[in-house]
Symmetry: C2
Subunit: 545 residues, 2 copies
């Protein structure tokens, strides 16, 4: 500390007793020491306590350290929501390293890009995803990455082991009493999450220990969670580290119920069997649940809170979820903001309103969570807040401690994201007179399908590679099941011929399955005088298909 001019800055410096780097890792140490026998993880027939979980995470950190993994190193993972995936959220940073969770639905080329760009030294990979991962590894220099297989007893499908050692054997090489060290600086990176962004190559969002700690605390405040909370893992942990809930569950010493696959029967069974109190997921998950067979949904007899983001939950979904005894909260955020940073904070007096009005209120993303110091809508030109009239559109922006450090090895994109001293979401919205924000459009042309972000530019680039395609533009088409699907508008070259089936087959070769357009429309594209494709016209057309 500088010695300032007044007594409150003199001889009152930071020291090891009064200043410790904020990190969510201490939460696990506390849960392990205070609640060793309380169930931390449920997975199939497995019940594992916080004490054993803490010991296994120390083993993991120790095993990583013995392989030379430390500060500044990247450890990647492709996994379903299993106990090892949970443990990696602690064990990797306890070794000082950065956890890079990779979307399991990505295509081999993108996986390879991420592994190379992120500099992964070690990769944990679930047997289920071996086909894509094997191809990705073939695209990289041989031997550059140590591979550890996750061979989950709850997974009985296809998929070979790719690595030299299985996770449980890897743990045995570590010391359960390992004296892990917290980060020396809370600004140290804890996670690396790639986002599709607006361009073909994904960008690596770097988050730090300080933000992970604060968002984990903020989740408790926003969702009124406690040690009695039971959290069901419907949201992939590879999505913004499961919105920081892995760390929140350790903070409260609650119970994690793992789930390999989002299917209605296992979800309802878990909710009933373990008396789940909270789960998160894209609106497509809620949609699946309300359309499940009556027999599956009949028996929920305790309150459940569902948190959803990515698109506004429609009134019928809210109504049917409520009939099942599930309260729906609408959230909004980005990978760059550690997941949701805005929530539609509820007012008790709204409970008495008719469904349509409640749904209209819930369609708004709401207000900043307590851990995000500022979140508002600015005029993009003046960077002043737009009038709170529910009509004036501006860009949703943030300032706070749960905003990323920046994009890895991408100073240009980082500078653009932080232009003018605000984090720019790229999403457009309005502010209502009560201060609640509503999303109106996406500046970045992202299609959100089943909770997955799809950059239209990437799909367009694939289309452009087809020999018969002259021009292509992709927009979101509203979809009852997926929220949105990519809809391609294509102009063929003179004399060339291609059917919708040809185009789709070509896309399937070059894109992850979920990025392949669901619809292809042939014809000339509407353009501005300067030749720019008018996507807003195409969006209207897509709505009417």
């Amino acid at each position: 500390m500088a010695q300032g001019g007044h007594p409150f800055e003199q001889a009152l410096d930071k020291n090891p007793a009064n200043h410790v780097a904020l990190t969510p890792l201490h939460f696990l140490a506390r849960a392990g020491e205070v609640y060793p026998d309380k169930v931390a993880l449920v997975h199939g027939a497995l019940r594992r306590g916080w004490g054993e979980t803490y010991a296994r995470c120390r083993r993991l950190a120790s095993a990583l350290a013995r392989r030379g993994i430390g500060v500044g190193d990247t450890v990647a993972v492709l996994a379903a929501n299993t106990p090892p995936m949970y443990e990696l959220h602690f064990g990797v940073p306890m070794a000082g390293a950065v956890l890079n969770t990779i979307n399991v639905r990505l295509d081999p080329r993108t996986i390879a890009f991420i592994l190379e760009h992120g500099g992964a030294k070690l990769l944990f990979t679930d047997r289920e995803f071996a086909p894509a991962v094997a191809k990705a590894l073939q695209l990289l220099p041989a031997g550059g990455i140590t591979v550890v297989d996750l061979d989950d007893p709850e997974y009985r499908g296809a998929g070979e082991r790719l690595g030299e050692i299985e996770y449980e054997d890897f743990l045995l090489t570590g010391d359960p009493a390992f004296a892990w060290q917290p980060p020396a600086d809370e600004w140290q990176a804890i996670g690396l999450n790639y986002t599709s962004g607006t361009t073909g190559n994904p960008k690596g969002v770097v988050i730090h220990h300080r933000g992970a700690y604060l968002n984990a605390m903020g989740n408790v405040v926003a969702s009124a969670m406690s040690g009695a909370s039971v959290y069901l893992w419907t949201l992939p942990m590879f999505h913004c580290n499961g919105w920081c809930f892995p760390w929140t569950l350790a903070l409260i010493a609650g119970t994690n119920v793992c789930l390999r696959r989002v299917e209605t029967a296992p979800i309802f069974n878990a909710i009933r069997a373990h008396r789940v109190t909270h789960f998160c997921g894209a609106p497509v998950v809620l949609n699946m649940l309300i359309n499940a067979p009556e027999r599956e949904r009949a028996l929920i007899d305790h309150p459940v809170e569902a948190m959803t983001g990515g698109a506004a939950p429609p009134a019928p979904v809210i109504a049917r979820m409520e009939q099942m005894g599930v309260t729906v909260t609408h959230l909004y955020g980005l990978t760059e903001t550690y997941g949701p940073s805005v929530a539609c904070a509820w007012h008790d007096e709204w409970d008495a309103l008719p469904l349509e009005q409640r749904a209209a209120l819930k369609s708004r993303i709401g207000v900043r969570k307590a851990n995000m110091e500022q979140g508002t809508v600015l005029d993009p030109q003046t960077l002043r807040e737009v009038p709170r009239d529910g009509a004036t559109i501006g860009e949703i922006v943030f300032r706070g401690n749960t905003v990323m450090k920046g994009y890895l090895k991408n100073p240009a994109a980082t500078a653009e994201a932080f232009a003018g001293g605000w984090f720019h979401s790229g999403d457009l919205g309005v502010i209502h007179p009560d201060g609640y924000i509503q999303v109106k459009d996406r500046a970045k042309d992202i299609v959100i399908s089943g909770g997955e972000n799809i950059a239209t530019l990437e799909v367009e680039e694939a289309l452009y590679r087809h020999a018969a395609v002259l021009e292509a533009a992709v927009v979101a088409r509203p979809d009852a099941k997926w929220g949105e699907t990519p809809c391609a508008f294509v102009t063929l070259k003179d004399g060339a011929a291609a059917t919708e089936a040809d185009i789709l087959a070509f896309c399937r070769e070059h894109l992850a399955g979920f990025k392949v357009p669901k619809t292809v429309v042939f014809g000339p594209l509407p353009k501005t005088a300067t030749g720019k494709i008018q996507k807003f016209v195409l969006r209207d057309r897509a709505k009417q298909l």
Copy 2:
């Protein structure tokens, strides 16, 4: 940020969008904007919303700024638990200044010492405490401190106005739209709280915005609080800033129920009328409640959580509180740790145990809260943790972000408190095999009477000033109502004479009322070979009186 050797430290610096100084002041801004009409404060017939409370705090900050109060300045207050006392916890730091809450029971000389040592430029003082404050001001240079009176409509007793302006008029000199600035650095001081410590002159504990933010969050986690929580102000806000609960209530936008005076009928009435969910207080408060007339306690029909510290709540107290529907949680902390930092975290399976066993478990202070990174018992010589055997005594120590900056203008005491890189509580304890800490003795010879710390040395110094006193030693005597009371052992000079009544009358002239011994025992003092008084012998005698 230094540019380190790996990509996670390159071009990923702090900027205004991703790094904001932690401060609880943002909590009030959020509560005011999101829940303007939700009741923030109840006081008598007054109901005031979060919107108006935020506006009044901005007025207050603005009025202070217009009087030249800013960063590095001290603003002192002597007040009961009223709305202005709550607002000062926000308005003063929103002006950049440091809030110095003063114990209203102190004697004029100590008040004067604190005002001078703390450098107060402005003093808010409740009319009830005018007699002592007027005398204190007479001990200080005239005109050095601007005095603002708090003339609470709920107070109808004696006491003149001392200052030039009343609080409500002072507020009118400020702007409700004042553009307050958060601190530039979260290490900036937010509060100054004097503790009696071990020597006659109190020490000024300096706490910062970072710690206030983190403890406010930690309270939500430890006490499972939410927006539905209603908090009754039985604990003085001048005690460690009410254990940071003023800031916690803004964080959750809960409701504060003010209380000028700790009396049973108003407490039970408030609990019923406002459906209070949480309150804090010394064991003497719980003792009062269980001894209240049956008629007052009959009608509590909702769950209430009482948090108590300073001494272990005895089994009969726990039992009778539970019969009234109030759960008791035992906490431990010091002014230096922002109030309680250790709590007897409960395990569900303990609910089924017989009362005596539950009381034995609750008599332990427990484990560190989630916001305190380390809290344990060390061997004072080796600074190693004592064995977890429930028997080996060591000193209770802390490391974490809710440990004070240090003592104001007292580098020697600060260095002593932080010796070896730990904060030393001065209290002795043991660790049980399950990691729970139990207090065994007080290294600092503090008497805790009705929740107030009394330094025995200060009382001894007063006794020594009596002309007839040769030697004096003061120890704690267990007391059913107050927990402990000061018990004086006195040896008179040869040929001198004094009765117990003489001694007590003399003490009342020189000490705050609560510090005056309840018992005086005459006779020779037991000593070691080197002439040191054996206080442990006296403590045993005091117990048998």
